[in-house]
C-alpha cells in the first residue's frame, strides 16, 4: 500500500507532461518585444509559436500619407540600428520609380555610409549576442568601436541612430571637412579590433560549446523560408546582392563574400565577423577613390510617381535583403509603399530551429537571427 503510494508520488514528481512557457515579451534576450509561446518537455522545446506586433506602428500606412521626400525619416525607425541601409533602399526605390540617376560622388558616399552602418550593426549584434550567451567582455570591446562609427555619423548628419542621411537623388549635403581623414583612421585600425573580438571568442571553448551545432539551418530550409543575408550565407548559399546586382559603388570595389556551410550559430558568427573585415576593405577603397563633384542629381522640385507605375528595389542590409515596393499615383505621395523587412522573414524560421533545442539554446538561436523588432513589426 505504502509502496504504491510512493510510486504515485514519484510519477507526479517526474511529470512528463508538457509545460507551457511564455518567453518574453519582456525577456532581455528577445531584443525588443518578442513573445515566444513555448511548449517545453523539461528542458527540451517541443513547440514554439512567436507572437509579434508589439511594436507595430503602421509605418506602411504613414508612407501613404506623406510626400516621397518626407518618408525618409520613417525608414530610420524600422531597423533602428541600421538606418543608413534603410534610407538607401527607400531612396533607391524612389529613384527607380522616377528615373533619377545619382552622381558618382553621392554613390560613393552612400556606399561609405552603408558599410559603416554594416559594421555598427554587426558590432551591436555581436555585443548583445555574446552577452545573451554569457560573455560580458565583448560587449565593452564592441561598443568602444561602435561609438566611433556613431561619432562619424554624427559628424556627417547630426544624428547617431536615426540618421535620415539620404535623399531621393543623392545626399542632402557633402561630407564635412576632415571627415575622410577621421574615417580613414578608423578603417586603418578596425581590422585589428576584429582580431581582438575573435581572440576573445572564436577559439573560446565555452563559446564553441554554446554555438557549434546549435540551431542548424539547412540550405533548403533557408530557401523555403526566404532567409537572406548572413544567415543564408552561413548555410552555404553564395548570394550577396552587393555582388549579384551591384548598386551604388559596389560594382567598382573589390571584396569577398564569406560563405560557410554548417548553418549553425557558430558559422553565422563567423560570417558576420568576416563581413566586418570585408566592410573595412570596401571602406578603404571608397575613401581612396572618392570622386569629386556634386552630391545631388537634377530632379523635379516636387517628386511625383507617375500613375500606374511601380518599382521594387532591394539592397543588402546587415540583416538581409531589405526592399521597397512603391506604387505611384500621379501625386507626390506613394499609393502604396511596402517594405520587405529581412528580420520578419528571418524570424519566421525560429520555431523550426528551436524544435528539440534546449531552452538555454533558444537564447542563442534568437540572438543569431539578428532581428530588430522595430523592423519585424514596422
Amino acid at each position: 500500500m505504502a509502496d504504491s503510494e510512493n510510486m504515485k508520488h514519484n510519477d507526479t514528481l517526474f511529470d512528463v507532461e508538457e509545460m507551457e512557457l511564455a518567453f518574453g515579451p519582456q525577456h532581455p534576450s528577445t531584443h525588443g518585444v518578442l513573445r515566444l509561446n513555448l511548449k517545453v518537455d523539461g528542458e527540451r522545446i517541443v513547440d514554439c509559436y512567436p507572437i509579434i506586433g508589439y511594436l507595430h506602428r503602421g509605418t506602411e500606412k504613414l508612407f501613404e500619407l506623406h510626400p516621397f521626400f518626407q518618408n525618409v525619416p520613417h525608414t530610420d525607425r524600422m531597423d533602428y540600428v541600421a538606418a543608413a541601409t534603410n534610407n538607401l533602399a527607400y531612396v533607391g526605390a524612389v529613384e527607380k520609380l522616377t528615373g533619377i540617376t545619382v552622381p558618382p560622388r553621392a554613390a560613393y558616399i552612400r556606399t561609405l555610409l552603408c558599410e559603416l552602418q554594416r559594421i555598427s550593426s554587426h558590432l551591436l549584434w555581436l555585443a548583445t549576442h555574446a552577452i545573451d550567451i554569457g560573455a560580458m567582455t565583448p560587449f565593452f570591446y564592441c561598443f568602444r568601436e561602435r561609438e566611433e562609427v556613431l561619432d562619424l555619423f554624427e559628424e556627417f548628419c547630426g544624428a547617431r541612430l536615426t540618421l535620415n542621411c539620404m535623399r531621393p537623388g543623392g545626399l542632402p549635403f557633402d561630407l564635412p571637412v576632415g571627415w575622410t581623414d577621421r574615417c580613414s583612421a578608423f578603417v586603418d585600425k578596425f581590422p585589428s579590433k576584429v582580431d581582438e573580438y575573435e581572440g576573445l571568442l572564436t577559439n573560446n571553448r565555452i563559446w564553441k560549446k554554446r554555438t557549434v551545432g546549435i540551431g542548424v539551418m539547412t540550405k533548403e530550409q533557408g530557401l523555403q523560408y526566404g532567409i537572406t543575408g548572413p544567415m543564408l550565407r552561413a548555410s552555404g548559399v553564395d548570394f550577396d546582392l552587393r555582388k549579384a546586382e551591384p548598386y551604388e559603388a559596389y560594382g567598382e570595389v573589390d571584396f569577398d563574400v564569406p560563405v560557410f556551410h554548417n548553418g549553425d550559430t557558430y558559422d553565422r558568427y563567423l560570417v558576420r565577423m568576416e563581413e566586418m573585415r570585408q566592410s573595412a576593405r570596401i571602406l578603404r577603397q571608397c575613401l581612396d577613390n572618392l570622386p569629386d563633384g556634386e552630391v545631388m542629381a537634377k530632379k523635379p522640385r516636387v517628386l511625383k510617381g507617375a500613375k500606374e507605375t511601380e518599382a521594387y528595389y532591394g539592397i543588402e542590409s546587415p540583416k538581409g535583403e531589405i526592399g521597397f515596393y512603391i506604387v505611384g499615383n500621379g501625386t507626390p505621395n506613394p499609393e502604396r509603399c511596402r517594405v520587405r523587412p529581412p528580420s520578419f522573414y528571418n524570424l519566421q524560421i525560429v520555431p523550426e530551429l528551436a524544435q528539440g533545442a534546449l531552452l538555454a539554446d533558444l537564447v542563442a538561436i534568437v540572438g543569431t537571427t539578428d532581428i530588430v523588432l522595430g523592423e519585424v513589426d514596422r
Partner: protein, 263 residues
C-alpha cells in the same frame, strides 16, 4: 547653301537697277525666315546635344514606361504552360511583371519554383486600389527571385475582399507570415493557409488598418475587446484620450473639478 542664297540678293541690292528691289526683298524675307527656322532647328539640336553631353545625373529624369514583355523567356514559358491564366506580362524599369488569374496563382508559382529556378520568395504584399475602375479592388503582389541568374519576377493577382486567394505555402513555407499579414492588414484571406490568424494586430481587432478607407486617427476598438469597461463605440480613439472609464464611478465626484483629468 543657305549662306550663298542670303548673300546673292544682297549682291543684287547693291546693284544699280532699282526694279529688282521688290523681288529681291521677297527673296530676302524668305531667306531670312528660312535662316531663322534653321537657326531654331540648330539651337534645338545643340540643346539636345548639350543635354546628351551632360552627365546622366544632370539630365532630366526619364520616367520608366511599360513595355510588352514579348521577348522574355519566362513570360513566354508561363503563357505556354498556363494560357489564359496569364492576363498580361510587361516590363517596367527592367522588372518583369506578370498579371495572373487568382485561381491559378499557386500553379503558376509552382511552375516558376520547380521549372524556372525561382527558389526564393522575396516578399508577398497586399494593396488596396478602391478607385480603379473595372479592376479588382485588392491586389496581392509576389516578388520572386532566381538566385542563380539573379532574375526577378513580380506576380500580381487581383482579388476582392470576399474572394480568398489560393495560398502559396505549399510552394514556399515562408509565405505563411506575409499571407497572415495581408489578412491582418487588408482582410484578404488565403485558401488552404495553415494558420489564417492576425499577426501584427491583436485577435479581436475590428478593422483592416491598411485599407484606404480606414481612418488614420484610428477606430473604436475598446468595446469589441473589453465590453465590461467600454460602452459600444466608446473605446479608445487616437487623439481623444484613452476613453477609459472606471467601471464604477461615484456620481458625487463627477462634478468635482479635475475629475476629468483622470481620462
Amino acid at each position: 547653301m543657305s549662306d550663298e542664297e542670303t548673300k546673292a540678293p544682297q549682291g543684287d541690292d547693291t546693284g544699280p537697277e532699282p526694279e529688282v528691289d521688290e523681288a529681291a526683298e521677297k527673296a530676302k524675307a524668305e531667306a531670312a525666315a528660312k535662316a531663322r527656322a534653321e537657326a531654331a532647328a540648330a539651337a534645338k539640336a545643340a540643346k539636345e546635344a548639350a543635354e546628351a553631353a551632360k552627365p546622366p545625373w544632370q539630365r532630366d529624369p526619364k520616367i520608366p514606361e511599360w513595355q510588352e514583355a514579348d521577348d522574355s523567356a519566362v513570360a513566354g514559358a508561363l503563357r505556354e504552360a498556363h494560357g489564359d491564366a496569364i492576363a498580361w506580362a510587361r516590363t517596367l524599369a527592367g522588372d518583369l511583371v506578370v498579371m495572373v488569374a487568382r485561381e491559378s496563382i499557386c500553379d503558376v508559382a509552382r511552375t516558376l519554383h520547380d521549372e524556372h529556378g525561382f527558389t526564393m520568395l522575396i516578399d508577398i504584399c497586399g494593396a488596396h486600389y478602391p478607385d480603379r475602375e473595372d479592376e479588382p479592388e485588392f491586389e496581392v503582389i509576389y516578388q520572386l527571385l532566381n538566385l542563380d541568374t539573379v532574375e526577378r519576377v513580380r506576380l500580381r493577382v487581383g482579388t476582392e475582399a470576399d474572394t480568398p486567394v489560393p495560398t502559396v505555402v505549399p510552394v514556399w513555407r515562408g509565405a505563411n507570415w506575409p499571407e497572415r499579414e495581408i489578412w491582418d492588414m487588408y482582410g484578404v484571406s488565403f485558401e488552404g493557409h495553415p494558420d489564417m490568424t492576425r499577426i501584427l494586430m491583436w485577435e479581436g481587432f475590428n478593422g483592416f488598418p491598411m485599407r484606404k478607407d480606414f481612418p488614420i486617427e484610428g477606430i473604436d476598438t475598446g468595446s469589441a475587446i473589453y465590453p465590461e469597461y467600454y460602452e459600444e463605440t466608446a473605446g479608445p480613439v487616437a487623439g481623444t484620450g484613452t476613453g477609459w472609464k472606471p467601471p464604477e464611478e461615484p456620481e458625487d465626484e463627477e462634478a468635482a473639478p479635475g475629475a476629468d483629468d483622470q481620462g
